[in-house]
């Protein structure tokens, strides 16, 4: 299949032009100071120092990673059973369910988040329901709960899709073989289904964790302006402060941390590959 190589190299060229080249510009900004004018710039590590030396910024970064991690864990915990149940449905309702889950994501994220703002505002739906049980009213808007809820709502479809993909069309004879060999249903799940769905889960983690770390509209609206995450800091550097150098440096720091954590996650992925056959 040598002819496919052309496609690969074509894509590498495309990546170089549209992803790598622009990234180099960001790199240039991160390591320089002074205006948005290339002529007056000079090399400096000041942008990085400004970030690392300030406990507030470090705290913001850690908070963002923490929120993203919790969001990812919840997305797996809720998304896996959902994907599992859907995968077991007959083919037609299977496709329909997947479409039903994806459809809300086609409504503008800001509009959906505004809807959550309304729902979480005290005195509405949720608190009315809670009051039936003698609980509340609970303040929900502008809390960590609201931010995580918003993120889970926004990103969980990707997790479900990815896990579902790896569960769908799984060779069912493998499960039969397992039970023939004396495995209980739990054992069959743990030893067969789960490892086979791992690659999908890791794609899902990529699709939830990465955007969750840098998201800024959800924390801003559901957490309030006081809920500062690293995405908000980067955004404000570019869009309000006009300090592209500092903004670039922060996103570079974030990128490196994320790359490291993704590299660790993917190490897990190697196991089923080698365990196969």
């Amino acid at each position: 299949m040598k002819q496919f190589r052309t496609i690969t190299w074509g894509y590498v060229a495309w990546l170089a032009a549209l992803v790598i080249a622009p990234m180099l510009l960001i790199l240039l900004y991160a390591f320089t100071v002074a205006g948005n004018d290339v002529v007056t710039t000079r090399f400096s590590l000041q942008n990085f120092y400004r970030f690392v030396s300030d406990p507030v910024f470090v705290e913001v970064l850690l908070r963002s990673l923490y929120i993203a991690l919790i969001t990812t864990v919840i997305c797996i915990a809720l998304g896996y059973p959902i994907a599992y149940v859907i995968a077991k449905l007959p083919e037609k309702s299977n496709v329909l369910m997947i479409l039903l889950i994806t459809m809300p994501t086609w409504i503008n994220m800001l509009v959906r988040t505004y809807a959550w703002m309304g729902i979480l505002q005290s005195g509405t739906v949720v608190n009315t329901i809670l009051s039936w049980f003698g609980v509340g009213p609970v303040k929900m808007i502008h809390t960590s709960f609201a931010v995580i809820l918003g993120m889970v709502y926004n990103f969980i479809p990707f997790m479900i899709l990815q896990i579902h993909t790896s569960l769908a069309k799984m060779d069912k004879s493998l499960l039969e073989a397992a039970s023939d060999l004396g495995a209980s249903r739990a054992q069959a799940f743990l030893r067969v289904t789960l490892p086979l769905s791992l690659p999908g889960m890791i794609s899902g983690i990529t699709l939830v964790f990465l955007p969750a770390v840098s998201s800024f509209f959800i924390p801003k609206l559901l957490g309030g302006g006081q809920y500062v995450l690293v995405g908000n800091v980067i955004e404000s550097q570019f869009l309000t402060a006009g300090d592209w150098n500092f903004g670039s440096a922060i996103s570079l720091i974030m990128a490196i941390i994320i790359m490291l954590s993704m590299w660790l996650t993917r190490k897990v992925d190697v196991q089923p590959e080698s365990g196969k056959e």
Binding site: T8, W106, I119, P199, S203, L210, G242
Partner: protein, 631 residues
């Protein structure tokens, strides 16, 4: 295995409830009688009427759908082929491509967006549909590959060899053996790509131009107040999608009855594309109704050199019929583009994008003048300048009105609930009332470093344009103290809904927004502290690189007329620069006669406008994060 347990049914039901609760909320609020997005006041179809009357909204729907469909098809094909061919490459290359693919997924969108903006500008590519499409394809491909690759990994590598041993060509091996095996991955990849493209704002904003806007750009640039028509628009999209899904799911069933089975999945996607194109075509029919007749356009070209001009202004900042009236009267076409903040506008200008008329704020105009980016206006072409009220003439940044023509103006003040807050407190304490422990936990602060530092500076008796480090630190301490003792809620546009709903007692609000709040909630009052406040002016300017300056002058002149200014003021609610309109709005009983927020304070010596100081701005921006962030 096939029998459905009660447990799984409950899971499915709860899942759907979770996903559709906000959607239901959106649909309900699209029928809301008032502007509020949180309080339902009565049933009405007004937002639907407004939506269908707004051609820019309809155009945005079409651009969004067309871009999403093309980007999805292209990125799915390219992404799948690349993923397959990558399996034949060396491990190092595979890894490298995978990691690089993560970059657009991982980077904050703004980073990808800015870098693409610089990239396209460096290559001098004219921005619009083409650049938007390329950018969307670019960020969609990684999502497809991310979905397809795990499926490929679980594939037996010897399958292809077996197929080729049996005489299949590589193409056949791919289509007949590999693709069917990884189909679930391709489908979910396509779905994610579609979602990403459909919902993208920041990248789209920076790579588009020439009036091409998608729904997200429209929504996010409603910076001057969210227009509830967006709920109506979302409802329309839900209905359209449901229709498409209905067609996609029904047609194969019907066909199955007449024919037999076979390859129905592939057919389904074909139908999906056909249905989407149909919907786009219907939408296009709605959007592009009539166009100005030819002879008048030719006359306009004769007179101005071109019959088209580009206007760049904040979202939701135009009267309902202003643009249409101007177009009809002069036989021209106005391309309208919106920005979310002065800085977003500035970024695009710096990248070399050309506009004929821009409407930025005071300090930004000062910066543009410093950088020599603005044209001196030919005042003989703008006779209507004499209609301006004296309060907006000879502004500090443009003493002789040579560069900027006022469009809207106003101030910043306190809105408070006079039922729960003692007016005496507000009037005697001024900005300091925001640190009065009596009202702890009951205040909204406007989430912007400029406005917050402004009130701190004013409360301490400094100029809000100070560069004195001691004064800056004093203001910083003032705000830190406020954050510690009052735990205020930091909001932006949500302050309008929040105060109308009476959620808080005191809020820092722009006078134009205060006008709306006072109109809707009688318990609210407006006060401008005696320590002074920010008086702001948004003005029309013509950049040096304008392509049609003579039509730009005609447009500015038109916007100053009574009719246009009235329409603007009536729709937007901010204070008009036109003397006659201002007078009428301020004295008419049915309008704002009773509304103390509509008339900004004029000529008070403690009030100031912002001046441009980039260094100060960076400092304040960093300090502001430090004020808010500590938990």
């Amino acid at each position: 295995m096939q029998k459905k347990s009660v447990g799984s049914r409950i899971i499915l039901a709860l899942t759907l409830l979770f996903f559709y609760l906000p959607i239901l909320y959106i649909i309900i609020f699209s029928f809301n009688d008032s502007r509020s997005l949180t309080t339902f006041t009565g049933f009405s179809m007004r937002w639907y009427e407004k939506m269908f009357a707004d051609s820019s909204m309809m155009e945005a729907v079409i651009y969004t759908v067309v871009i999403a469909v093309i980007a999805t098809v292209v990125s799915t094909i390219v992404g799948t082929l690349t993923a397959i061919s990558l399996t034949q490459s060396k491990k190092v290359l595979q890894r490298l491509v995978e990691r690089t693919n993560d970059l657009p997924v991982m980077n904050p969108e703004i980073v990808t967006a800015i870098s693409l903006l610089m990239f396209f500008s460096a290559l001098k590519i004219s921005k619009g549909f083409g650049t938007l499409l390329v950018a969307h394809i670019m960020f969609c491909i990684p999502y497809v590959m991310l979905s397809v690759t795990p499926k490929l990994r679980s594939l037996d590598p010897h399958l292809t060899d077996a197929a080729m041993d049996l005489g299949a060509t590589p193409m056949q091996a791919m289509w007949k053996v590999i693709v069917p095996q990884i189909r679930p991955g391709i489908i979910s990849g396509a779905l994610i790509a579609f979602t990403m493209s459909f919902d993208d704002f920041i990248i789209s904003y920076f790579v588009t131009g020439n009036g091409v806007q998608n729904i997200s750009i429209l929504v996010y640039t409603m910076s001057k107040r969210v227009n509830p028509s967006i709920n109506a628009l979302s409802t329309l999209i839900i209905v359209l999608i449901t229709l498409v899904l209905g067609i996609v799911n029904l047609v194969p069933i019907v066909r199955e009855h007449s024919r037999g089975k076979g390859g129905k999945k592939m057919k389904k996607s074909t139908y999906a594309i056909i249905a989407a194109v149909l919907v786009a075509a219907i939408g296009a029919g709605i959007a592009f109704g009539g166009t100005a007749d030819r002879s008048r356009r030719e006359a306009a070209i004769e007179k101005y050199g071109s019959d088209t001009m580009k206007l760049y202004l904040p979202g939701e900042y135009l009267g309902e019929n202003v643009i249409q009236d101007f177009e009809n009267q002069y036989g021209v076409h106005v391309i309208v583009e919106n920005f979310d903040s002065n800085e977003m506008m500035y970024a695009k200008l710096q990248a070399g994008d050309a506009y004929d008329v821009i409407i930025p704020s005071d300090y930004m105009i000062e910066r543009l003048m410093k950088l020599d980016l603005l044209q001196q206006l030919d005042l003989s072409k703008i006779p209507n300048m004499e209609l301006l009220s004296d309060a907006v003439k000879d502004l500090p940044f443009d003493p002789e009105n040579q560069y900027a023509v006022p469009y809207f103006w106003g101030s910043v003040g306190l809105v408070y609930n006079h039922e729960t807050v003692d007016p005496e407190d507000v009037e005697s304490e001024g900005w300091e009332v925001l640190r009065d422990p009596k009202y702890a936990g009951r205040t909204y602060i406007y989430d912007s470093e400029r406005d917050s530092f402004m009130m701190a500076f004013k409360a301490l008796g400094y100029s809000m344009n100070t560069s004195n480090m001691d004064e800056i630190n004093g203001a910083y301490e003032w705000l830190m103290e406020m954050n510690r003792t009052m735990s205020p809620t930091y909001v932006t546009d949500e302050v309008i809904d929040g105060m109308i709903g009476g959620n808080m007692d005191i809020a820092v609000v722009y006078s134009g927004d205060a006008t709306v709040i006072l109109d809707e909630n009688e318990e609210m009052s407006f006060f401008m502290p005696e320590e002074g406040t920010n008086i702001w002016y948004d003005c029309m300017v013509v950049p040096k690189n304008a392509e049609n300056p003579s039509l730009a002058h005609e447009f500015i002149n038109y916007m100053l007329t009574y009719e246009a200014a009235y329409d603007n003021a009536e729709t937007v609610g901010y204070t008009s620069p036109n003397a006659e309109v201002f007078e009428e709005m301020a004295t008419n009983e049915d309008l704002y006669a009773e509304n103390e927020a509509y008339v900004p304070r004029v000529g008070y010596e403690m009030d100031e406008a912002f001046t441009d100081n980039e260094v100060l701005k960076k400092t304040l921006s960093e300090l502001w994060i430090k004020v808010k962030a500590p938990k």
